[in-house]
Symmetry: C2
Subunit: 113 residues, 2 copies
DNA sequence: TCTATATACCTCATCTGTCAATGTACTATT
DNA sequence: AATAGTACATTGACAGATGAGGTATATAGA
């Protein structure tokens, strides 16, 4: 079952920041990695991906630079800034809270309703 | 920590359907109940609540009727339809999938990254 | 009596993130 | 020459959340 847009909204930023925590990377690679990690259930669309990168860079959470590929298509690499690391910590805390709250509200395992 | 808008988006419908699974209810009561269950971390805004009711009724997932209050403000009660029950099952399955996927992507407890 | 608070519902304009569609450009394979 | 893969980018449309505003009843307190 695929994870749809509305359920994804708001998590995109956290996912991208988390990916960059493993080291600098670029759009296409991150897209493939997320797809692989999620076993294909989450397919970040290109437009979503690049809009998110713009947003995150504008906010100072990531910075970017062009790779020096000698052959093949050019790549824009992204780097997690200290503010981005802090933001990621917040987003993860937010996720834990949301997960707990929704599990309660939807009546899931281990949480009393 | 409060659950913010973007993290909530898309879950509203599921939450409301789940509330109605416990029996017919009305906006104000559901709002208070959700707030209590979530220990105040999730405050459904009125506008969000009522637009969601419209959406759900239009889709056939709930039906509504006016209560016969003899005193006090009038109440519009909502009732979960069979289609709504089915929809709730789907939404809960979707939530389990989303929770699993995001826990993996954000590198949480028990899931390897 | 006047005021504030709680109950209870409703609508509209605005904002924001997602995404289909479209475009550019290079490389490798058939 | 055609097809597929890599890689980035923009734009307009769409949908859900919400601030701000409005309506109405009931009760408690100054």
């Amino acid at each position: 079952m695929a994870v749809s847009a509305d359920w994804l909204r708001g998590y995109t930023d956290a996912i991208l920041l988390r990916e960059l925590q493993e080291g600098d990377s670029y759009g296409y690679e991150i897209q493939k990695h997320v797809s692989a990690l999620s076993k294909g259930t989450l397919q970040l669309k290109e437009a979503t991906l690049y809009t998110a990168f713009r947003r995150l860079e504008q906010a100072g959470y990531i910075s970017s630079y062009w790779g020096d590929e000698m052959q093949g298509a050019r790549r824009r690499y992204y780097h997690l800034t200290p503010q981005g690391e802090e933001k990621l910590r917040e987003e993860k805390a937010q996720w834990r809270e949301t997960r707990k709250t929704l599990s309660i509200l939807l009546g899931e395992d281990g949480y009393e309703v």
